[in-house]
Point group: C2
Chain length 406, copies 2
């Protein structure tokens, strides 16, 4: 049985000590956010830190030829291992916890099990996946997709960052691609992650278990009107696509609220984008997510209909293109129920994609969430208390004990 006191101090203090080792890496002093793009200097420093932590614990590290790192506790001949971990890379000016919390917690969970004298019957493997955010090469979960064979080696190798560097160049080699023999050696994957909303604040729980990742997608709305002089063109003579865009933004928000779904227009491009010119074209990107596929379809259809109706009033035209669509990921139901019962934790869905979402199609997979009091994610205000992070470590250690010892 695990406890949370050992001689080096309380678990929250030990969490803080380890956390402080990586806290300065890639931090932008201006925003307070992180610039830890995959395979750039800050993320490479974190990978070195990973190797150092594994060494300190006597855990041999392997790399899968795709940029993903694995540190093993226990003999590989002991049976199918349980994989845990997350990623180091961030979105631009992202928060501290999204990704690294899952890796730091994994090493501390190993420490907890060892301190409690637990001897797992199967290995525990701590993983660090590359390019989870897609912030550098444009494809989220690139490392786990390669490992699982869900993206071709040719496509992955040729992805380029904003500076023209390819993923293969950044990796220093052509990626290895699918490694079924490696994946087949895992009995399960458990990813611990900071919560990216406030549902667990409301549930008054420090740790939760994921049920599913909502189906989600991106749709590009192109609104076309007539460029004209802002000073001299009478209101009645205008065909202003900014009006259709603005109406569509508000319609997306309203339709999402009505359905309990999520809709965001966070990106816009305007031509010519001049103060004294009625735009000729406005492009807006809709990010939409919902618990059920039919809710998502209904939401996007409703927004499309509202946009088209307003375009008729504005004398503009609207074209809608689906840029990406990701179906519902339901995590292993039995595993989620088993862990929720073990931890007495709430079970909740999430709207965000994760490496766990990719691997869920290949092996029994679960996610643990740690409470985030701000609810903010992908921004500097993302946070978690040391006490909740310690609760996350304890929960992860119990889960690993459950999955490797029984």
């Amino acid at each position: 049985m695990l406890t949370d006191s050992v001689e080096e101090g309380s678990l929250p203090n030990r969490f803080r000590a380890l956390w402080d080792e990586i806290a300065p890496v890639g931090r932008d002093e201006g925003s307070g956010g992180y610039l830890r793009y995959a395979l750039t200097e800050p993320e490479l420093r974190l990978r070195e830190w990973f190797r150092g932590q594994a060494d300190r614990r006597g855990m041999p590290v392997t790399e899968d030829g795709n940029g993903n790192l694995f540190a093993r506790w226990g003999e590989p001949t002991a049976g199918d291992a349980v994989l845990t971990g997350s990623h180091f890379d961030s979105v631009p000016h992202g928060g501290a916890y999204d990704g690294p919390l899952g890796i730091v917690s994994a090493f501390l969970a190993v420490d907890e099990l060892r301190a409690a004298g637990v001897a797992p019957a199967r290995p525990v493997v701590v993983g660090a996946f590359v390019e989870e955010e897609g912030a550098r090469f444009g494809v989220p979960c690139l490392g786990s997709r390669l490992l699982a064979g869900e993206i071709t080696v040719d496509r992955a190798a040729g992805l380029r960052d904003a500076g023209g560097v390819s993923f293969a160049e950044a990796l220093g080699a052509r990626p290895a691609g699918a490694r079924p023999e490696l994946l087949g050696g895992f009995a399960a994957f458990v990813e611990l992650h900071v919560e990216q909303g406030r549902a667990m604040v409301d549930a008054d729980a420090p740790v939760g278990v994921a049920s599913a990742i909502w189906p989600h997608g991106r749709w590009r709305f192109e609104f076309t009107g007539e460029g004209n002089h802002a000073g001299t063109t009478r209101m009645a003579d205008r065909r202003d696509p900014m009006l259709t865009y603005a109406f569509t933004v508000l319609a997306a928000n309203k339709e999402a609220r009505l359905r309990g779904a999520h809709a965001t227009v966070g990106r816009v491009a305007v031509e010519p984008n001049a103060t004294n010119a009625i735009p000729s074209k406005v492009t807006g990107w809709l990010d939409a997510r919902a618990a059920e596929p039919q809710t998502l379809t209904g939401l996007v259809d409703a927004v499309r209909a509202k946009a088209a109706e307003r375009a008729r009033r504005d004398g503009t035209e609207v074209a809608l293109t689906e840029e990406s669509a990701t179906p519902l990921v339901a995590f292993d139901g039995g595993l989620a129920e088993r862990l929720a019962a073990l931890l007495d934790a709430p079970v909740l869905p999430t709207g965000a994609g994760h490496d766990a979402g990719v691997l869920a199609a290949h092996l029994p997979t679960a996610m643990l969430f740690v409470r985030n009091p701000t609810g903010v994610s992908h921004a500097p205000a993302e946070s978690a208390s040391d006490a909740d992070c310690a609760a996350g470590v304890t929960a992860l250690a119990r889960v690993l004990e459950e999955l490797t010892c029984r």
Copy 2:
């Protein structure tokens, strides 16, 4: 008395022949619009063309030390001259007529007067002003402002284009600044310009006379919220400034229509402008214009109030900054009425700034507008028929005869 037939063909044909000499200069084949920035190669070619037209007519050309060109018909000792003309420079991908029509029409009006045997008692001067659009150095009507002493030489000399070239460097010399002795030699200024709306289409008149330039300005709205994850943040937890922005765009449109004013939001900047991020900040620029200053003030106040009200609902903040404000320019009322009676033409205000608006504070000034069937301006679709342009030349010739012979 003038007629519109001389031996070289009909006036519309003569207009077309002269117009075709400059039509290819600076035209972008992709957009069909013009890239004629002040003192760049296409505009320098048009200035050479101006000197050639003046030479062909025996009109000596002077430059005022600020980049403005003047070609004189008649002895300088004959009395105060009547100035006519406009500018060659364009906005990015602008139309063909905005500016050049006033210069081409001025030379043709001189031809008409000469062909009719008119001998003006005072000189006629054809002018070409530099950097009217402000598209290269950022200050509209830069040439006329320098001539009138309405901008300091230091400030004008130091204005830089996007490539870092200063106005003084482009001009090849420090500008001369105010030339009161030169301005004092003009009895009046008449600028002919393509209409930039469709009011004259509705009035069924090829030529109109300007009454005033509407007061106008630019206001920057900064909407601040909380950057967050688009997938995981519940709708109720959001502070999304894009919603406040969108509502404000629609409010500006509605409030302008209610008041018979003009409001446009044609420029927006979003941080971080990512598809999967609720923005932390959205900045929108409002261009607003109205016939009366109090209408403009009321419009901006109403939009500000609507934005603030919506910000409270969205949990966002809004800050409003006036970036520029130009008061009402009323053209010389007696002169406008005299010309309208002479031409039997409608009198109408405009929402756009012009060199005539700058010079109106210094000498009796009038504007003639030529009908624009599309109503479009500052865009490739800007147009005028050859017949209407010929009617403009005839009207300008009659005005010059009226002002120089009586």
